[in-house]
Amino acid sequence: MDTLTSSSRRRSSATCFDLRTVPLRDVNTALHAPGISGEFVIAHPDGAHNVAVGVDAPVKVTVEGHVGYYAAGMNQQAEITINGNAGTGVAENMMSGMVWVKGNASQSAGATAHGGLLVIEGNAAARCGISTKGVDIVVGGDVGHMSAFMAQAGRLVIRGNAGEALGDSIYEARIYVRGGVASLGADCVAKEMRSEHHKELEYLLKAAGFEGDDTAGYTRYGSARNLYHFHVDNASSY
């Protein structure tokens, strides 16, 4: 942090970094400092990759603009808001905390993430929530093809439409879709909305600022549990 005081400025309570003058690596290093807290603003990302990756502290980070690949990746604890669009793999492998994208997200949003909440107010492209392991993702608009592919745990809420092969080879993640689904992937089926599902969906929509939605307008999708791994006969192979 010491090296940054000349080029970072403290405005009200937030520390501001301008990526046009401060190297990204210095900004990320500052965000990795042990024991940090408070609020940070990152200005002029101009599509840079790896903005605010690997943060593991209870801080608030606001990114003012569009980001490139892997923004807020591996996040733990932090609340990271992106006031713009995000490139490939936003919040990939997030463990906890919250990542909020005000615009659209490119492919593989929230890939492999274990925990926390990812909100994308606009649309997400292909492979949203691929191989998730516990994260909750709420998408305000549509998602592209192969979303929730091999998703193992967590919830994916889609307020718009889903592209082709939704939930292909899904394990135990749950998907809620309000709009249409172009096609379901292998072993993904529509399931009954029981009271606990309405309850969890209501909770997720509220957390993402969409509490006005009627949960009765959503369909739940999940695994039919018919693929190889789900057959007890195959258990002896391991």
């Binding site: 599509g47 669009n85 490139g87 659209n104 492919q107 492209a125 292909a126 592209g144 093809h145 192969m146």
Partner: protein, 290 residues
């Protein structure tokens, strides 16, 4: 990886800045591969003067005396731009007759194609690209996967009159299609997969298809992954493969349409803050005409 960029200007006030803007876009994509690079510039009054045919030539050192036809020859980096008041076919024939080993990087009117081996930051300086003007430009910076790092392996592939194609990705079945095209009499300059795509498109256009249908035919025929930017003198089209394997971002304002592998290549364009920005859907052809 490779990086591709394209800029289609809608307002004449920006024409003097085409080269400057294209230089920034291309150099920003240098991180995606920088063993070679190339550009096609439409409408530069010095490189491709109005009313004159222009042929872009590499691998030989053409002179006006040898070619005849009252040609003028200028050099930008490794590329020679040969222009004449004739049809581009007549000029092309005169060049290839005198220089059978010439690598033709592009031909037509109002289009100059420059390419070479090296980092785009170095090449764009050699070309003085920042000073170029015009209404449309495309660029490519390469990380070679399918063929040698030579001028013949560089993009753009400009194999039909005023046409140009740049590609991020790789075609899997290009050898099969090259064999079929060769059997139909099509000549190839390289073993590069993209050249097959470009010659396939050129043949589709020569057969009378419009660019959107030509690209749909390419999607139906080629296996592999690709984001393609296909331009001609007046048009600019983008398509991605069926699973959108390779990245692409399009931005549009009243003043321009731009496309790049990544948003950061567009971040320096004037008015980008208010642009409509989106990622092209798989196998949907996006096309603009001036």
């Amino acid at each position: 990886m490779c990086g591709i960029v394209g800029l289609h200007l809608r307002t004449a006030q920006l024409y003097p800045r085409l080269g400057e803007l294209l230089t920034g876009m291309l150099c920003e994509m240098g991180d995606r591969g920088s063993d070679s690079a190339g550009v096609a510039v439409y409408g530069d009054p010095i490189w491709s003067p109005p009313g004159r045919a222009c042929v872009s030539v590499l691998e030989v050192e053409p002179t006006a005396e040898a070619i005849g036809l009252d040609v003028s020859v200028t050099r930008q980096g490794a590329t020679y731009l040969v222009t004449a008041e004739s049809s581009s076919e007549a000029l092309l024939d005169a060049i290839t007759a005198n220089y059978p080993d010439a690598l033709i990087a592009g031909f037509g009117s109002d289009m100059a194609v420059l390419k070479g081996v090296g980092h785009p930051r170095v090449l764009t300086v050699e070309w003085a690209l920042a000073k170029a003007q015009g209404w449309q430009g495309v660029g490519h910076t390469r990380m070679a996967t399918e063929s040698a790092v030579t001028p013949a392996g560089c993009h753009p592939y400009a194999v039909g009159p005023e046409q140009c194609m740049v590609h991020n990705g790789s075609f899997a079945n290009h050898s099969t299609i090259r064999r079929e095209l060769r059997a139909a009499g099509v000549h190839f300059d390289s073993e590069n997969d993209t050249e097959v795509g470009a010659r396939f498109i050129a043949q589709q256009l020569a057969d009378g298809r419009e660019v959107g249908n030509a690209l749909k035919e390419l999607c139906a025929t080629f296996d592999g992954f690709y984001t393609l930017l296909v331009s001609n003198r007046d048009s600019f089209a983008v398509v991605r493969d069926a699973i959108a394997c390779k990245p692409a971002v399009i931005a549009e304002t009243d003043d321009w349409v731009a496309m790049a592998s990544e948003y950061r290549a567009l971040a320096g364009l004037p008015g980008v803050g208010a642009a409509k920005i989106w990622e092209p859907e798989p196998e949907v052809v996006y096309a603009w005409t001036r």
